[in-house]
């Protein structure tokens, strides 16, 4: 059965801290891995990763994929209270149309 597992499930940090969120997967026909930020209802797209070792970066957020070890990490540096959200990792498969398999999410809380 295809599976995506995120850790930790929740995390509390203080502003300015750096956090690393983990996502591991066991799937057949891996196509890409996507990271989303969910604050209220709608997940907001952050990154899509398809190749190992190539870091994607956007401001204080960065992510990298390791297709050999089947995991990805999402780093957030100099965290701010506005980074508080649930971060979702999802995997897209070949031959599955647009189906995304989601992990449980990591709930990040950034305290002032």
């Amino acid at each position: 059965e295809d599976k995506v597992v995120q850790s930790p499930l929740s995390l509390v940090v203080h502003e300015g801290d750096t956090v690393t969120l983990n996502c591991s997967y066991e799937v057949t026909n891996f196509r890409s891995l996507l990271w989303y930020k969910q604050e209220k209802k709608a997940p907001t797209f952050l990154f899509m990763l398809t190749s190992s070792g190539i870091e994607k970066k956007s401001g204080r957020l960065s992510s990298i994929l390791d297709k050999k070890e089947l995991f990805s990490i999402l780093n957030i540096t100099a965290t701010q209270t506005g980074d508080s959200a649930i971060y979702l990792c999802a995997v897209a498969l070949y031959n599955q149309g647009g189906k995304l398999i989601f992990g449980q999410g990591t709930e990040l809380s950034v305290k002032p």
């Binding site: 196509r31 890409s32 996507l34 989303y36 209220k40 209802k41 709608a42 997940p43 907001t44 797209f45 899509m48 398809t50 979702l88 999802a90 897209a92 070949y94 149309g97 647009g98 189906k99 995304l100 989601f102 992990g103 449980q104 999410g105």
Partner: protein, 118 residues
């Protein structure tokens, strides 16, 4: 990316009734999807909304419970039929960015509909 809107944003419904959720996109997209997020859970795909043909449902979801329409390339509806409290969830429509190349398409979500069934 395409702009996605959903109506209603939220609703509170009585057990046994039905609710139709609309999803509108500002550009033509081939693939649209409907996801559900139950309280405290992650997202689960309900079905793929195919333009001009019946939707393709995932295991555990059936057309009688979640009928879907896709009359054109910019619009889709999901109906939650004969609702029970277990249907209380966030319902999200989603699409793959039509500009993606090589089969690697980013996927975006609408603002969601928060449904509470009493």
């Amino acid at each position: 990316s395409a702009v996605i809107s959903q109506k209603p944003s939220r609703d509170i419904c009585q057990r046994g009734t039905s609710l139709t959720i609309q999803c509108q996109v500002d550009s033509q997209v081939t693939m649209m999807f409907w996801y559900r997020q139950q309280p405290g859970q992650s997202l689960t795909l309900i079905a793929t909304a195919n333009q001009g043909s019946e939707a393709t449902y995932e295991s555990g979801f059936v057309i009688d419970k979640f009928p879907i329409s896709r009359p054109n390339l910019t619009f889709s509806t999901l109906t939650v039929s004969n609702m029970s409290p277990e249907d209380s969830s966030i319902y999200l429509c989603s699409l793959r960015d039509p500009r993606g190349g090589g089969g690697y398409n980013e996927q975006f979500f609408g603002p969601g509909t928060r449904l509470t069934v009493l």
